[in-house]
């Protein structure tokens, strides 16, 4: 499992007449990861997931899951559990019957037995509602049933299209907990435009905008790439000359004054890669030597939302 990428796409493209929904997506999703697929509405997230679920044919390019190409039909779909953006099931079936029906669609070796179905229902928190008609389920319950049915065939990859976007905070929390709970058992590839959720559960992230991939890398790495080379320093008793003195410190590339209030002056120091500790130490010594007090001296932490906005804005400006 570690050798073969869970999902691999090469030049995956889907164009409808007059609409380039997805263009040249080349992506590798590591096995066992929770991969957040991020983008504004209309970015091509659902198109990508439908292509990966085998529901839509690519205009060009290729995709595979666990090394099996999407063109392999039923063999491919055995490896994939899919949850639509607004999942709908047969209202006349109970939750349990829905899972039993899904299980019956898999070959004997991959089929969940009644005991496994009971386990899955319990795991998604529908054990007590298993005998209720799916048509009576709330949005959150339908979403959890959706994840349950996607798990029935023990797929290599779960494809979840906006699994939490239509849920209230409680429902969102439940579904994210469930995804967290599945970490390591299967690969989860999910789309969303809720950045907090991605930051919370995803260990990998890809950003898509206007059908094109902007960036794809581990979440921490992406955040660090925007934040690790900047320090925020606040000094009490600083003067107008402090900015230039800070800029003269070793490994400091530039200094931008931030805010000023009373005796306090703030600065953002752009520093050379991997020198944060050295510069922090130099700032401390610099202040001590001059009888100044450092009230803040730390790396700047950006949220995914800031990073996302920067990336999308940069792309728009470039365009």
């Amino acid at each position: 499992m570690a050798d073969v990428a869970a999902i691999s796409t090469t030049g995956l493209t889907k164009h409808y007449p007059g609409v380039a929904a997805l263009t040249d997506l080349t992506l590798t999703v590591p096995a066992g990861s929770i991969f957040g697929f991020l983008g504004p509405n209309g970015a091509g997230k659902s198109t990508t997931i439908k292509l990966l679920a085998g529901l839509t044919r690519p205009t060009s390019g290729s995709a595979s899951v666990a090394g099996i190409p999407v063109t392999a039909g039923a063999d491919y779909r055995r490896e994939v559990g899919y949850l639509a953006q607004e999942p709908r099931f047969y209202d006349w079936m109970t939750g349990r019957e829905t899972l039993e029906f899904v299980a019956s669609l898999y070959p004997a070796g991959r089929r969940s037995d009644p005991g496994a179905i009971t386990d899955i229902l319990g795991r998604v928190g529908l054990g007590d509602a298993a005998k209720r008609k799916a048509g009576t389920y709330s949005g959150g319950m339908r979403q959890r049933l959706g994840i349950a049915q996607a798990l029935v065939g023990r797929p290599s990859v779960l494809l979840l299209d906006e699994p939490v976007s239509s849920l209230d905070p409680l429902g969102r929390h439940e579904v994210l907990e469930l995804m967290e709970d599945l970490r390591g058992e299967t690969t989860i590839f999910y789309s969303t435009h809720i950045l907090d959720d991605v930051q919370r559960v995803s260990d990998q992230v890809a950003i898509l905008d206007q059908g094109k991939l902007v960036r794809a890398e581990p979440t921490e790495q992406l955040l660090n790439s925007f934040t690790k080379d900047q320090l925020r320093v606040v000094i009490s008793g600083a003067t107008d000359g402090t900015e230039a003195e800070l800029a003269a410190l070793e490994h400091v590339e530039s200094v931008v004054p931030a805010e000023q209030g009373g005796d306090l002056r703030g600065y953002v120091l752009r520093i050379q890669p991997n020198t944060a500790r050295a510069v922090q130490s130099a700032v401390t010594h610099f202040a001590a030597d001059r009888g100044l007090t450092v009230t803040e001296n730390q790396q700047i932490t950006l949220g995914l939302e800031d990073v996302f906005m920067r990336l999308v804005n940069t792309k728009e400006q470039a365009a």
């Binding site: 044919r57 039923a74 779909r77 099931f89 006349w92 669609l105 065939g153």
Partner: protein, 273 residues
């Protein structure tokens, strides 16, 4: 070695392809039958078709009774036949079972597309041809019972009660003709459902096929009529009446069913869900 291994593996490959084409048909068929059983559609079709065909068969007897018993109608001459076979045909010739079959099946695929359950099922390891075939088999089987066999039995009982017992072979042949017509129109509706985006559009295509032979019949010579697969009920009635009807119509019917299934399988594969 190579020469012998090719023919040995070929049947296995063919079997593999057949399994792939039919992947999921059995559970999907059970689900589709379950869906019919959980709705009221089945009972509406049964009641409407049986009542309509029974009344159509009783029409002649009612007409004779009215002429004989109501003073206002006294003296009027009725030419309606009291022969059992004729009235059995009257019951079937309205083709209400075809109309019921069109209405009952026109939502089967379209609604699943609109609701999103079709894309859900299609994301599982089943073939899209299997999805279509299970819908065709379940709808045809159920409509054979509720729009074909039961209403024909009701009609035969009405005919037996009012005009005398009809020939069993005639009842069977006309029922077979009705069931064949039902199967044909379910195939037409489900094929249209792979093309048209809405139920009204599907119904429009199906009714165009239903009425087309009547329109063409007025233009083309009578000899062409047996070529139409939609003439299958007329063919069965002719057979029941002891006429020499040939085999062109059932062959045409079979070709139409196979062609519709092949067309639908191709279209299902192209659908963007």
């Amino acid at each position: 070695m190579t020469a012998t291994s090719v023919p040995a593996s070929a049947p296995l490959e063919r079997r593999g392809r057949a399994f792939a084409t039919l992947a999921g048909v059995r559970p999907l068929f059970r689900k589709d039958v379950g869906e019919w059983r959980h709705g009221v559609r089945l009972w509406v079709v049964l009641a409407v078709t049986s009542a309509f065909m029974g009344l159509a068969a009783a029409n002649s007897a009612i007409n004779h009774w009215v002429v004989a018993n109501l003073p206002e109608a006294a003296g009027q001459n009725t030419k309606m036949s009291l022969v059992p076979f004729d009235n059995l045909l009257v019951g079937a010739s309205s083709q209400i079972f075809v109309i019921a079959a069109i209405f009952a099946s026109m939502s089967l695929l379209v609604t699943e597309r609109e609701r999103g359950t079709l894309s859900w099922v299609a994301s599982k390891p089943v073939s899209r041809t299997g999805i279509w075939l299970s819908k065709f088999a379940s709808a045809t089987g159920i409509l054979w019972i509720v729009a074909g066999i039961v209403p024909m039995v009701v009609t035969a009982v009405v005919v037996a009660a009012l005009y005398g017992a009809p020939s069993i072979s005639a009842v069977i042949l006309i029922t077979v003709g009705a069931c064949a017509a039902i199967a044909l129109f379910v195939a037409v509706v489900l094929a249209a459902s792979t093309l048209a985006p809405s139920q009204p559009a599907v119904a429009a295509i199906a009714f165009a096929v239903f009425f087309l032979p009547s329109i063409l019949g007025a233009i083309l010579p009578d000899a062409v009529q047996p070529l139409f697969p939609t003439s299958i009920l007329t063919w069965a009635a002719g057979l029941a009446a002891g006429l020499d009807v040939g085999v062109v119509t059932p062959i045409s019917w079979l070709v139409a069913i196979v062609a519709l299934a092949a067309f639908s399988a191709n279209r299902m594969g192209q659908l963007e869900l």
